[in-house]
């Protein structure tokens, strides 16, 4: 007499309809995210990202509350009476007022954390596929090489947006509710599209650059070094050349993070005179670098992944 276990241990045929290769990309993206979420080390960085978000969220609320409720009140500080609004001066740099710079600054901060996580996660996401030979597993399935890249980029993109665009949209919604929402949403529609466009620019550039650099160096430590080189060393070098040595501001273009920031502020419609630091390269040049890095990464990926042998 057969038992349920016997039935399970027998081979059973499967019938059903198979779907197109794009669904394969979604599966790759989901598995990539799963692998990233499983790394306990990253949770400290996620917590830091949450901290930054809550700082902006409550900061925005605090500014409005103080402005409206206690603007003219004074409080004692070391024996002297100080106006409450004066205490908020340190927050001015962050522009916690629902303006284009609020969202620009927020995404800049979040993007920094996102960048660190991606640098650490690159090997998990893509490097392992080359290092451990997983790529033939993917490419022997009915998906194309472009579906593989799409899946990996989607995984990175989802993560980038979860840390930058989505919380920025929450801040935008909050700002509207703190002020007169009809006026705010009407007057600040550009910021809404700006957040989405900045998120898109970050997504495309960082995800392509991540996958390309992970394909190139594969292991975590070299990948972190590459990212540190591009986003920290180049940043310091650009700052040293332009601010320290008074070179032409175009030298700051080697700082990809700054280029992305300029592109983001342009999308958000921020006034260029408020950009920090003051000496900045031309906007078109920043756009050209961002587009160039993305295009170069995409071409590099195409070349390297085409060269993978599924059957050796």
């Amino acid at each position: 007499m057969s038992t349920p276990t016997d039935a399970l241990l027998r081979y059973r045929p499967w019938t059903g309809d198979l779907r197109g290769p794009v669904h394969g990309s979604l599966a790759i993206a989901r598995v990539s995210l799963k692998l990233m979420v499983r790394r306990k080390l990253f949770w400290a960085l996620y917590a830091l990202a949450a901290l930054v978000f809550f700082f902006f969220f409550y900061g925005q609320y605090l500014v409005v509350w103080i402005t409206i409720q206690t603007a003219n009140q004074t409080v004692p500080v070391f024996g002297a009476r100080v106006r409450v609004t004066d205490l908020l001066k340190f927050l001015d740099k962050l522009n916690l007022n629902g303006s284009a710079h609020t969202f620009g600054n927020f995404i800049w901060f979040q993007g920094t954390i996102c960048m660190i996580v991606l640098a650490l996660a690159g090997a998990v996401l893509v490097g392992n596929d080359f290092h451990h030979g997983s790529l033939p597993f993917y490419l022997s399935k009915p998906i194309g090489r472009r579906h593989y890249v799409l899946g990996k980029c989607l995984g990175a993109a989802f993560f980038i947006n979860l840390l930058t665009t989505v919380p920025a949209l929450v801040l935008y919604l909050e700002a509207g509710l703190l002020y007169d929402w009809q006026t705010y949403y009407g007057d600040h529609l550009r910021e809404l599209f700006g957040i989405l466009a900045y998120g898109l620019a970050l997504t495309v550039t960082l995800s392509l650059f991540l996958v390309a650099s992970a394909v190139a160096v594969r292991r975590t430590v070299p990948l972190v070094m590459v990212w540190a080189g591009v986003f920290v060393l180049c940043r310091s070098l650009g700052s040293f050349l332009v601010d320290g040595q008074r070179f032409h501001p175009a030298w700051r273009l080697i700082d990809l993070w700054n280029d992305l920031y300029l592109v983001g502020l342009h999308c958000l419609g921020a006034d260029r005179s408020d950009e920090k630091p003051d000496t900045q390269p031309a906007l078109w040049a920043a756009w050209a670098v961002v587009v160039g890095v993305s295009a170069f990464s995409a071409l590099y990926l195409r070349r390297r992944i085409q060269a993978v042998e599924v059957v050796t």
Binding site: Y11, H132, R145
Partner: protein, 312 residues
């Protein structure tokens, strides 16, 4: 028909990897043999739609060979084939069941069905206890099984196995070959087995294709291809070493050529034209040796392979 190839040629620049390969194979268990550089890998890639032939035409499981690796025809072809790569091709960080379910989704199965099917297939292959362990922690035998599971998850009509017993101990090898044979005989799967281990082919396959220099040098059943030799025997003896040596010397003086003597009482001999087997017994009785077995020594697959390589 499993595959029907007509005059398939594949070139890479000036190098001709396959020259006019014409093959018609009925569904069943096919062994693909050939030395390194024979064109096996190129043929496998063409069968999976990863490479298009430079000329010639072919149909695999009713699907015409595609003209591009990322074309719809190639995707259709790969859905019909479960490929088990020679390399590890595992995705580190995933459990066995996640890995197999991912393979199912990449083949186009809906997510839930892929998960359910992954459990079924892993149970069938004897990995039910290990399915929640990470694949990188698996033993060599388990890795081979999970690779077979990912090839089997969408229940394809054909399996393409590249060195399935690579790195396995004798018990694991036997178990893997039994599984492959069972899938073919009990569940109607066609199997194309590409291996350097001729014993694996002999144990599993009913048809053999021998490739060398990009050409098909032999095709048919093992019985058809291996020469039947009425003049060669394996003689197993029992007796004292001195007696068996004397027996062997007498055989030689009687015109029998002793090809090998394994030192443990087994001789491979070539008998002269008018030899009768009762002569073995007569000589054995004279030397106080018992003849345990006389078996016709037909050409083995290994000998056939070497003969084919020499002829090429």
């Amino acid at each position: 028909m499993l595959l029907d190839l007509t005059d398939i040629t594949r070139t890479f620049g000036d190098f001709v990897a396959l020259r006019g390969v014409t093959l018609r194979l009925a569904p069943g268990r096919v062994g693909l043999l050939g030395p390194n550089g024979a064109g096996k890998s190129t043929l496998l890639k063409i069968l999976m739609g990863l490479l298009a032939p430079s000329s010639g035409r072919g149909v695999v499981l009713g699907e015409p060979l595609g003209t591009a690796a990322d074309g719809a025809t190639s995707y259709r072809l790969r859905r019909l084939i479960g490929f088990m790569p020679e390399a590890d091709a595992l995705v580190p960080g995933l459990t066995g069941v996640e890995y197999v379910a991912l393979a199912g989704e990449l083949y186009g199965m809906p997510r839930r069905q892929a998960q359910r099917r992954a459990h079924e297939v892993l149970s069938y292959l004897g990995l039910e206890e290990a399915r929640y362990r990470r694949v990188e922690d698996y033993s060599a035998g388990m890795k081979q099984r999970v690779k077979l599971a990912q090839a089997l998850v969408h229940d394809p009509p054909a399996l393409l196995l590249d060195e399935p017993t690579s790195g396995l101990d004798p018990a694991g090898r036997d178990a893997m070959l039994n599984l492959v044979r069972e899938l073919a005989t009990d569940h109607g799967k066609s199997v194309i087995l590409s291996t350097h281990l001729l014993a694996d082919v002999q144990a599993v396959c009913d048809q053999v294709v021998i490739l060398n220099g990009g050409r098909v040098r032999g095709q048919g059943t093992v019985g058809e291809l291996c020469a039947v030799r009425d003049d060669r025997f394996r003689v197993r003896l029992q007796g004292e070493p001195a007696d068996t040596t004397a027996f062997r010397d007498d055989l030689t003086s009687g015109g029998v050529e002793v090809l090998t003597d394994n030192g443990r009482g087994e001789l491979r001999v070539v008998v002269p034209g008018k030899w009768s087997n009762w002569m073995f017994f007569k000589l054995a009785e004279a030397h106080n040796v018992a003849v345990r077995a006389i078996v016709r020594d037909d050409e083995t697959l290994e000998e056939l392979f070497l003969r084919t390589m020499k002829a090429a």
